[in-house]
Symmetry: C2
Subunit: 192 residues, 2 copies
């Protein structure tokens, strides 16, 4: 998505080999106009899959999930919560997610009542690197007998294995921008 | 707001004396259509104050803040982060917030660069009970020389002191629904 690539070029900050900071327009501070154009783009790419619900994980995926859901005829949004420990409950679906950024294992969880069996789930998140969060959300969907009809990502780190692994599994993955590397603080983007 | 009151009546759950659960349509699972009508209502109530940015706190305030900002000509959204400890940095505004729900003190923080001096801030949150989160966000704004032009809340617990205290301070507080009490699991609402 050209507009997102331009925002990354103008306002994104590359740190070291692999850190992409987009906190001035995509998370923490959100450029609302851009957010809703991204939501429109996700809707255009996934509408034919007829999703019935958007799933994301707190906190920075929520804004984008809401924007996408709004452009998909206002289908509901569900967000999984992050916690440190596994909760024993038959009413809760949960999956372990290792965060390479924070070097620790989290558990993501969602009450089963939010995602009825047979839901057609569109997973939305702001970043894709190792793909742990997306794989965790896919595991939640499997536990609830829901079908993942697509995965929409704002910024994919193309030099990390997450995207490659998901595509190899046959997942319909759409990333609005793909970072191919960082050189001297400059963020390199695919299709530029 | 009649539609929100109806949703609370239909899908809200009252527990004990003071717990109002709206997780099936307002947080965790979000009724996107209702969310954007609430955003529209916030916009109508605060447009004349000419806010330049919406401030909320992660995670459950984000969806509503985004919906309100969208209806206010897509002004940016900033969300404060929650943490357990104070970070020493001149670039960060922070305030202590005691959570009566979780019986612990949190710190909320925001990078000062997200809220330029002189910003006209509309604070949005899903719940108002003791008002600690809102007071914390107001403290952040004061540290950054920003003006709070209004506070928009989805569900105010009218039997808790938060709303009364803010109104006594002269804050332009607008709550879309006010819960006056819980009786035998039934949520009682103002103007019903």
């Amino acid at each position: 998505m050209k507009e997102l690539r331009e925002a990354i070029r103008m306002h994104g900050v590359g740190l070291g080999q692999d850190v992409v900071k987009v906190d001035m327009f995509l998370n923490h501070r959100i450029d609302t106009a851009l957010l809703f154009r991204m939501g429109e783009e996700f809707a255009a790419r996934f509408r034919s899959e007829e999703p019935t619900v958007v799933l994301t994980v707190e906190a920075s995926g929520i804004a984008m999930a809401v924007a996408a859901a709004h452009h998909l005829s206002d289908i509901p949004v569900v967000f999984a919560k992050k916690g440190a420990t596994v909760v024993q409950s038959p009413d809760v679906a949960q999956a372990k997610v290792y965060s390479f950024t924070h070097k620790r294992e989290n558990v993501i969880r969602v009450d089963k009542k939010y995602l009825p069996k047979g839901s057609r789930v569109l997973i939305i998140d702001d970043f894709l690197a190792d793909g742990q969060a997306v794989q965790g959300m896919m595991a939640l969907c499997a536990q609830m007998d829901c079908e993942v009809v697509g995965v929409g990502i704002a910024v994919e780190k193309g030099f990390m294995p997450g995207g490659k692994n998901l595509r190899a599994m046959g997942v319909n993955l759409q990333s609005l921008a793909i970072v191919t590397g960082i050189e001297d603080g400059k963020i390199l983007l695919e299709n530029d």
